[in-house]
Homo-oligomer: 162 residues x 6
């Protein structure tokens, strides 16, 4: 069938990675939240000063990444050895781009952790801005880069205009 | 400043909802994941049969919605009294739309729960399909509807083409 | 179909309890673990003295009961207002019976919390005794009593011999 | 005293496994839930179709296994590298047997994870069927097989008739 | 015996609060961390600018307060309706004082939540400063104020010199 | 700036430990809670008999230590291989001293786990005694000893009189 999370009988399982090599694996994911002008400026004003939405979202995203195997049913618990979340403000689009990078030395990749980190960071920005904008959109969440493991290195363009 | 999650000194806090009325509050959020043809067909084949990606994602999304106040720093713990996650397959777009609806009877709204439910459901679909597609995109996550509370009823179009 | 955790289309959901009355609801569950003579005596010796397996299992069971809605997918989060775990030693059977009682004032029953409490307590006893006995059996876990809600009061005999 | 989870003074501790070898360790546990005819048929009808109780229970069991060290006080956190949950329907007994297998490469065994996985899976079946049967019994939970570690390989018959 | 968390037989239990009135309850706790000059200045420089240790500690403290009933065995889950964490820098003592205030409308008090919030905030400051100071001391953690419930209003001096 | 949990731009991150050696690392932390005579005697009476506050606090502390990386934002998840919590009663001071020792074989130290273990143990004693004393103070929490890693072995006096 092709989907690795199911055995022959179509039953979901946590894939067996016991015999895989312990190697360094990295991943990077990006995502974006778009808001109205009022909310965007409130975030912009607060950056690195009082009322820092992004500092809060960064912490939430890193903590969320650590919870990945508790949230995603068939994800393996893995030992995260590095995690960063960076933000970029795009004033013309009234948008904030979140990038999560993570590393591990283990038997399986860390893509889901970076995607979860991006998601929780963007959800946190949403939560903190929703008093000013009820129509925010979270999107363009995708994997940008990964190394290690069977599929080796993968580099994707970030599709910010689809 | 306008952002309610900060006090006068710009310090983040969990907003005081103690004096708010206990009323019924509802919310609905939508989001979408887009994939390649191979992954989309694998999901489509499995629906309600063997290898059901969507059944797994539905459970993960409902469980994720229940974890919202543990993930989003300034969210209040609230007693969820109903939660559903539905999926719609869009073959032309090779996409799956997830809709999460939730209800509570409490002092504050349940929007973040529905957004978190959608996010975790889509992340789970991603996890289960990533062996077949390393370029999937999660997006168009937004609030569609909410009732109750000070801001009353809000109905948003779902922006699936932006 | 009869199973309330599925809608008409067979999709799992968290049942809507929003309109239910807030009333006092109680439940009680029992379960048992059977072990060899060496392990049973080790537990018996430790009761209320040094090396108290049951005190540890009691704490784990109460804490586990509080995690019920995080473990059981379609369970509603409910505000537990009372929880006890008691043990009874049955020397002839080399068994320990665990009883969990809980109460809440809410919209839905607390049966799953008592069953989870019993399970986690018995698993903890297992964990603490497994160095002495690799063939322990956990069983006879069932609901003994519940009050409140639509199904009203239910009293079951505890089937300890099936 | 024999119980390894206590030091000389009878104080509970998490056993020191720091100097143990990192090896592959496996375990398998089984358990069973017995119900009335109506509930059993509802589960049977739903298998791999609409309203799939077992698919839900499988996900909950795997996720529960991952939470073992958070639930059982003196359990070590271990990196699970494989986890499966299978079900077998026994129509004559109106029962469902759950089997959880898991693997890790680490310093300590994975028995508690398989027992927890079985327990949470059976509790989930209970939760989903309780509208049809208030007298279900969960039992016969025991370790069937383990490899690795000081106690080496252990094979137990599954005591389904005690 | 006097300790309310034990029944007549000395068995620990979660006290029965089912019949208590639902009222507004508040609490406030304080605590302090003392460090060397180098670490203190690093924190002071970062306040509300880049590298804001206190902003991170504030978020961790609020999130930790929400986890109180998952951490403290016999604590009841309660619906927190407000939570703040404030810091005060004491340059002469090279110390940072953390104050956590919380409110709920429920059947039991919120003292443990404020104490846990202070503790997790101070532990977070410790974690972020430990590269500069291995001898930090966390202390003077106590309840300053509570209202509501049977014991009514209690006001304690903060013992910062003991 | 000196604080390792921030990058050049002052953004918080989880430090990269991927290239660090896997070695055995140990830590030990101490802390103390001071109470009135009535509460102290209740604890003293219960030690290793009925109503054992310390046994409960020990379990909570070990379980809390395991949650460290879920509570402290930038802490790495690490595999704890040993954890003990011991108590010492100081009748003249009406105080209880908690000591947490832990070990791991990994890429980063285990100090935060021991400090969290001490904190949660003391908070649990507080919770169980608060019916008898509303003025308890938790303090003198500090690292006593650590080995392994770049900073090697550190031995601190326990400052119980500051």
């Amino acid at each position: 069938m092709g989907l690795t999370h199911f055995n022959e009988d179509g039953e979901a399982w946590m894939v067996d990675v016991t015999e895989k090599q312990v190697t360094v694996r990295e991943a990077e994911a990006k995502g974006m939240i778009t808001m109205n002008e009022e909310a965007f400026q409130a975030v912009q004003k607060g950056t690195n000063q009082k009322g820092d939405v992004l500092a809060t979202a960064r912490i939430a995203g890193i903590m969320g990444a650590k919870q990945t195997s508790s949230l995603i049913p068939l994800c393996h618990p893995i030992p995260m050895t590095r995690c960063t979340i960076e933000f970029e403000l795009l004033p013309k689009r009234r948008s904030i781009v979140a990038t999560c990078k993570a590393r591990t030395e283990g038997k399986t990749g860390i893509e889901m952790e970076t995607l979860t980190g991006v998601n929780v960071a963007l959800l946190t920005i949403y939560d903190m801005c929703k008093a000013l904008d009820k129509k925010m959109v979270i999107g363009h969440i995708s994997l940008i880069h990964k190394t290690g493991g069977k599929s080796g290195e993968i580099i994707n363009d970030w599709k910010e205009d689809e």
